[in-house]
Symmetry: D2
Subunit: 346 residues, 4 copies
């Protein structure tokens, strides 16, 4: 990882815009990657690249510079060090994600299968208090011979559901070819677990100008998740939601092992909001409600959960979907645990 050292230049509270611009200009002469991160009290400037060149710039002596701090972790832009430990909040159609006083409840069908099914679930989760609507238009499938989603028509159905309910849309980007269509319809662009290290796709997602919900790969470490987030962040997109969705272990009683320890770990080491997906990890509806409560209690900034009108008939992942008719009770139960941590549903 030569050439990947990083420094954070912390400005004084009194530093002027011109002084900040001067530091940035000096850094940019060396070809390093520069990111300005304004905070409440001070501005920090992240610079990632050749460490020798940066050290030769003599930044410490520039006007308005408080100190220059090396960053030692393998992830840079996602590090809580870079954000000087202030959590990032992401705004999605007026709803705030992250920041410590809101809890984001994303719910909806695994896959958009029809207009009727999608609108019915959307109305149910809206009535139950959801913050956003999830739904897959393009589905990654392990076998090429499985149902892959409706594609663009599904995006149009989701747009109709948003119009009907006011809920912003979360949907997965699977292939760079679909980027424009996704950008047109999605409020949050999801990157699935299988694509967490599809770096070409991460860069495409980073450029769409939409918040990105980045799922942890099923055997990715939390360090690797933050480095993947760096791929999005370096495109200038600071609105990344990290998502824990279960890791692959020797235990097969559950589909994956939901790593809830990762949530407080990520909150300690990154400034980004953390969402939990209990549905894919459990693979069994009866475990989804307790794990959702646990996600709220452990300090997650939200959950993303599958809900179906008729799970038995779903083309994909039916056994793990909550019944739409039970959603309001479920949501109230989860919200009660979030409320103990001072959070209201966004």
């Amino acid at each position: 990882m030569r050439g990947s050292a990083a420094v954070m230049v912390v400005m004084t509270p009194q530093a002027s815009e011109a002084e900040i611009a001067a530091v940035v200009a000096r850094l940019e002469t060396t070809g390093v990657h520069v990111l300005v991160m304004p905070g409440e009290l001070t501005t920090a400037i992240g610079a990632i690249g050749d460490p020798e060149r940066v050290s030769e710039l003599g930044l410490e002596g520039l006007a308005g510079v408080d100190r220059v701090v090396p960053i030692s972790r393998p992830y840079k832009l996602a590090s809580s060090e870079l954000a000087h430990h202030e959590p990032t909040t992401v705004a999605v159609a007026g709803r705030q994600v992250g920041g410590g006083d809101t809890f984001c409840l994303i719910a909806g069908p695994c896959t958009v299968e029809s207009r009727e099914q999608t609108l019915a679930v959307a109305e149910a989760v809206k009535a139950g208090g959801a913050s956003m609507l999830r739904g897959g238009a393009f589905k990654p499938r392990t076998s090429p011979f499985a149902f892959k989603g409706l594609g663009v028509p599904a995006l149009e159905i989701l747009a109709e559901a948003r119009a009907a309910t006011g809920l912003p849309i979360v949907t997965e980007l699977l292939d760079a070819q679909h980027a424009d269509a996704i950008a047109q319809h999605a409020d949050v662009v999801q990157i699935g677990a299988r694509n967490m290290q599809n770096y070409a796709l991460l860069e495409v997602a980073g450029k769409l100008g939409k918040p990105v919900l980045l799922k942890r790969g099923l055997s990715s470490t939390v360090d690797e998740l933050l480095m993947a987030a760096d791929y999005v962040l370096k495109e200038g997109n600071e609105a990344v939601l990290l998502c824990e969705r279960g890791i692959r272990t020797f235990e097969t009683a559950t589909r994956f092992t939901l790593d809830l320890s990762a949530v407080p770990w990520l909150k300690l080491h990154s400034h980004l909001p953390v969402i939990v997906d209990p549905s894919h990890a459990a693979g069994d509806r009866r475990l989804v409600e307790p794990l959702s409560r646990a996600a709220a209690a452990v300090g997650a900034d939200g959950i993303i959960v599958e809900v179906a009108q008729d799970p038995e008939a779903a083309l994909c992942d039916g056994p793990q979907a909550l019944y739409a008719r039970d959603f309001a009770t479920y949501a109230a139960g989860v919200a009660a645990h979030a409320a103990l941590l001072g959070k209201r549903v966004a």
Copy 2:
């Protein structure tokens, strides 16, 4: 696993003691293992052994027999099928563990290092509302050249702490040679993760007449945990507390991966209470409080947590121990999540 099939004979609500005894006597003629499990409405009789012999007994026709149900799971006595889905409650010095309306808060030092240290922590956790006191007298150590605990003198210190605080004692049995000493002083006998499949030790523990807290092996499946519980249960000891303490996975950011999904899974598949140990899994104090809240929210019957007066000076596992001075606040936070599930601290 030849010869390991099981049946459960469910008696009618009206069945008399004599009718129950007649079924047991009939079963015992075949050399199968028999366990009588009285419930609120009916009695169930578990029989494990040669399935052909059992089927030849014609049990269905005996007076008082409602039905004979084969049990298909690899674990038998720990199965919720055998308990006809009524949860087992375990009484420890007047405190009830399991059953759905109590939450058990076991706290104390990793290891008994001195009388002063142990009594100080015991008073602190008592004041903070703990249900029981934990403390290691004999410690399993990966290297033979590490501190192994004070041994029998530690048991005497724990007895003194019980006398001072009224808290029952949970301590680990590591070697059959120490069984008598442990039985004399412990209220709950802990079997550690490394010994979950030390079957000789499980049988010794099962015979001590004390509740057994059985920790899941660090790479044991939940099926294997329940089969290990069977080793204790078959000694006639029905007071087994299952304990999730983290499994070994590829992720090294935390010491182990706390498998909170296992808690609702175990509640579905077994009648035994489930305790969570967040300290060993996290290996980092800052993660222990959020994981404890999550354990309460996910439906555990209790937690077992390490607390130290001066963690920096502890001989063993200091970085994961809570500060004794913070315990009351911590306990109140966890209890609030348990209260949402209708549980008060035992």
Copy 3:
């Protein structure tokens, strides 16, 4: 996985081309995916799609049809059932891979760093008896701030190395945008472990008309590897080389755990050749030679190994690269084990 059942139509040895064409035509009326696989004695026709429609076709009664066999495994085209247990051989510039009597020795630098370095290593591995030259032009990197390869100029250097040595080139396709450039210069297109489930990329690779070396994802099961191969095979590209390169486990003494059991398992369950990459799994040069011998002994069809002129100076993965000066001795040692299984180096 609705609609993903498969059948294999086995023709009689006497079946004519016209009879085969008639079966294909009948199958294609239903919209199922059809693949004709000629064998030495008989032709088999794979059909994957809606099982009800296929069963309504009455294929059993058609002229030249011997029998119709359902395929039950989740992978279809990669299954040894489909190939009626005849191994597939892949021809690469006159070298045969697979088939049981050759062993393929692919060697070269991790990454093309310069013309001089690449030509020097290419000459060394050619002199040592290598079958093909490997070298990365585009490198996937966990952090966006690490060296990512020289790109297209690296492909031109590789082409020059081929011209100089006659060795065919194996190089990785990382992004669909580079597909044309890769297709122009590569003899074998490598799909890396991180992209094993990047289905869009698999389809692109399948269409390039070149053999594809498909690396197993670091936490992918062998079933999933075969389903990923199906993505390439269904494009009509039958030249897929499976590659075991180590899986992620709890063990950190080695970088990954090389799963050599997967080699005979894959040979039993698939018709495709299996290559082993011992370099990335070991992460330590001293383990690469014993693991290479083991790969030959366990029945692999070849290995792909990293070799460097000056590993200490390599920009990427130096500690795992063999010294170029030791390559001939190494290759002879590996070939001796392959020879015991009746294989000569291709």
Copy 4:
């Protein structure tokens, strides 16, 4: 792990016995654990305990002392540093295990089920060239309701098989209560994977005066295996055979994942011989032969393999046992790979 530092005192080639004894006496004044390890050229003296006390002894100045080397690894006695990189050889009834020029072929039934079965397999593996006979008298079983072996009568059958064939016996010690019986009949005492961290049992095994074959726990790291070996070695028993038998990973296509990388790693980091058990890892007879060849090729000092006269009728692990009638061909195939490394079957 306070107080667990270690030093190795390397004596000069000319050091006398009296000088060695003087160093030992000086070390013993501090209460550290001392182990004298004579080598071909020099003697090394391992001392494990309080590092400050050892450093105060001024050992460097004593007559005959060449140098004092700190040992930094968590395992001490098993470390190749302690043995100054000379491999340990273990003698079993005239057969040498370890040392680089022999290969040890241990074969026999999983479990002793009857006299006839055991004698028949013993004769077959003797005829096929085995070095030792394996067979279980006491079997660890995951469920308490499974067949647990014949116990002491099985030991007597094994003794009869030894008398008939001359093959030394390898059998498992499961419970300290059986130690005397095992010591009476076994030539090599096996500690099973489930008991690798049953420290009380390791100490009992270490005192029996017999070589110990120590199986790696199914989720134990190689570091932990060497620390477990330390428990045996510190009893003064230097005859420990390490055994890789497969680790638990996410992959379920094979029963366990045989970690053949561990073999060269252990040879680099320890002086102890390394044996491979391919049967339990594979769980499928068809994989056992290729994995055995790979074990020989990767540099193991031997293998331990299950053989049955009639695997279909075996009470335990039949599907993984080789057919006795195929053993001679199998053994010759494995021996050919060992011969390439300069080893003949012991």
